[in-house]
């Protein structure tokens, strides 16, 4: 049964919970560093290890970042709110509770406008609250390295206590078959907004942005169905696939007269579907209560107003402006945005490249390489300044397109700036007219038949001789110059 057919009988309702790790220098409640990739348990202290008597103190920068996210998502900022203890027993939290917020979130009632196929959909934001991340557990002893069959767990608390912002949408009905795409577009927009604020690197593949997707189905005109919560959705593409696979799975159960159980499910990147996670029967009894060790948060309205006035340009507005400035189509701009290349192309243009030149490299060679390595463009190994310098060498005629690609390979391999790579590898275009003329004359002498044809006016035949010259100069000549020189030597120019 086709997806389209399912959507004629069922209406999906989706909701998304997104966790964003803030990029503060220190943790939420202590001064431990938050550097990624440190040796295990070297960024820990009595507070984040929950040693007896240790007391937390809130990180001002984390509160500010949360308020800025709330403002950027059009939320109201609470005049007064408290932290709360979420009690659960699991070794990833040494305190046996997570310091979070419960019924008094810092930001409430906002929205994000998401555009899909030229239509704007408003996604309501229920709440944005601040909490702390958990430690990382490594399950060992099992055959698969996963929790099933593991005999013990190894815990690193470096991540425990890093500020985490949770952004929860209101339930979104009425999206029909577009629900998966709109869910993806929402997460992408959220990522762009948060990136523009500079409060997190929002890297889904590194876990600094994580998404849980709620999905339910109901027949038209009936009440909303029971929802499932899909966890472990760690890429934009997976957000779309997770919603779609849940719609298909739930519809099959409902078609057979079955019931959907409220449960947590895990998304599998490799298979593109979900499987049941742990039962929530006992896990949901979190016994929240106000955190006695932290005093209430009461943001000064003047401070909030200052933060609001200083919000950066909205990514959607920025995209519209840049599209105009760069002179490209909406579709091209969307590809740039989807590739996460807006800022990097902007920086490349600021470094002196033309919009077309900057876009060509980042959306071409470098995007392909980023894809292969499965990294973001910013981690591909070339900087905006280097790409601008590369394009400059092309514009000056020192590199042709093919040589420039080779130089770029050297740059991303860490061989230095484009000019250094060009010099070290001897890749500069042969502009020495003497050498070129010799090569051209050689080609004419070696191919008298073709040369005769050209002399007779069959200019189209010149390509073969240009090719021959390019070959003897190992591609290091400018094809246009060679052609001009060739025609000149043959007396037909």
């Amino acid at each position: 049964m086709s997806y389209e057919e399912i959507l004629t009988r069922y209406e999906p309702v989706i909701g998304l919970e997104t966790h964003v790790e803030l990029g503060t220098a220190t943790k939420m409640f202590c001064g431990c560093k938050t550097d990624f990739g440190a040796e295990p348990n070297t960024q820990v202290c009595p507070v984040c290890l929950a040693l007896p008597g240790a007391l937390p103190v809130m990180n001002r920068a984390a509160i500010e970042a949360t308020i800025r996210i709330g403002l950027a998502l059009n939320c109201d900022i609470a005049e007064w709110c408290r932290m709360a203890r979420k009690n659960y027993f699991y070794p990833d939290m040494p305190k046996n509770f997570q310091t979070s917020q419960y019924d008094e979130p810092l930001c409430v009632d906002g929205y994000v406008d998401v555009e899909v196929d030229g239509v704007t959909h408003r996604i309501g934001i229920e709440r944005v609250h601040i909490e702390e991340d958990t430690g990382k557990t490594l399950h060992v002893g099992g055959a698969t390295g996963r929790i099933h069959g593991a005999t013990e767990s190894l815990v690193d608390y470096n991540r425990a206590g890093i500020p985490l912002v949770e952004i929860v949408t209101k339930p979104v009905p009425g999206l029909g078959g577009l629900a998966p795409e709109i869910a993806k577009a929402y997460v992408a927009e959220l990522r762009d907004i948060i990136r523009s604020l500079g409060v997190s690197d929002v890297r889904m593949e590194q876990g600094s942005m994580r998404c849980d997707v709620n999905t339910s189905l109901n027949r038209p005109g009936e009440e909303w169905g029971t929802r499932t919560e899909t966890k472990n959705v760690n890429s934009l593409r997976s957000v779309e696939r997770a919603v779609r696979s849940e719609i298909i799975r739930q519809s099959a159960i409902l078609d057979d007269g079955g019931k959907i159980h409220q449960e947590t499910r895990h998304f599998h990147e490799d298979r593109g579907d979900t499987s049941p996670g742990r039962s929530k029967e006992t896990a949901t009894d979190y016994r929240y209560f106000p955190e006695p060790d932290l005093v209430p948060i009461a943001p000064d309205p003047a401070w909030v107003a200052t933060l609001k006035a200083a919000l950066p340009e909205k990514p959607s507005a920025k995209r519209a402006r840049l599209r105009e400035e760069w002179g490209i189509t909406e579709l091209d701009m969307q590809s740039v945005a989807n590739a996460g290349a807006v800022e990097i192309i902007e920086e490349t243009i600021a470094a002196g490249a033309s919009p077309a030149g900057a876009r060509k490299w980042w959306m071409g060679e470098l995007a392909r390489r980023a894809n292969e390595l499965n990294v973001e463009l910013t981690a591909v190994g070339a900087t905006p300044a280097q790409v601008a310098a590369l394009q400059k060498l092309v514009d000056e005629g020192k590199l042709n397109d093919k040589l420039a690609r080779t130089v770029l390979e050297g740059v991303v391999a860490g061989e230095g700036d484009p000019a250094e790579v060009m010099a070290a590898r001897g890749l500069e275009v042969v502009n020495d007219t003497g050498a070129l003329t010799a090569a051209v004359d050689e080609a004419i002498a070696a191919n008298p038949d073709i040369a005769a044809k050209i002399r007779d006016g069959k200019i189209a035949a010149a390509g073969a001789l240009v090719g021959a010259v390019m070959k003897t100069t190992r591609g290091q000549a400018d094809a246009k110059t060679v052609r001009e020189l060739l025609l000149e030597r043959l007396g037909v120019s």
């Binding site: 560093k33 348990n41 007064w80 593991a150 690193d156």
Partner: protein, 99 residues
């Protein structure tokens, strides 16, 4: 009526991963009931115009600046751990309900 039932105490013990015998359940349910009833008496004297208090100090907005401080060394961090392996805390297999 009791402020807390024997079943609720058993539930809390399970959430806290405490092994409690049948005899202990009877005893703790009785003790906790006395404690809860005593605390509940405070509510009898609280006037309508007094809001519930979660914090005894009249403070808000106590923050620290986002400046790193010195952390423990790995050895110091693990010194109190019952077991450790390759710089990590080693704990028993986690929760049956994960299966």
């Amino acid at each position: 009526m009791a402020a807390i039932s024997r079943e609720e105490v058993a539930h809390l013990a399970r959430l806290s991963r405490l092994a409690v015998t049948e005899e202990e359940l009877d005893r703790f349910a009785g003790q906790l009931d006395v404690i809860l009833q005593s605390v509940a008496r405070v509510g009898e004297v609280a006037a309508e115009d007094i809001p519930p208090t979660s914090h005894s100090v009249p403070l808000t907005n106590v923050y620290r600046e986002d400046v790193p401080t010195t952390s423990l060394t790995q050895d110091a961090a693990l010194s109190g751990a019952p077991d450790a392996y390759e710089g990590r805390f080693r704990v028993p297999r986690i929760l049956d309900e994960e299966d």
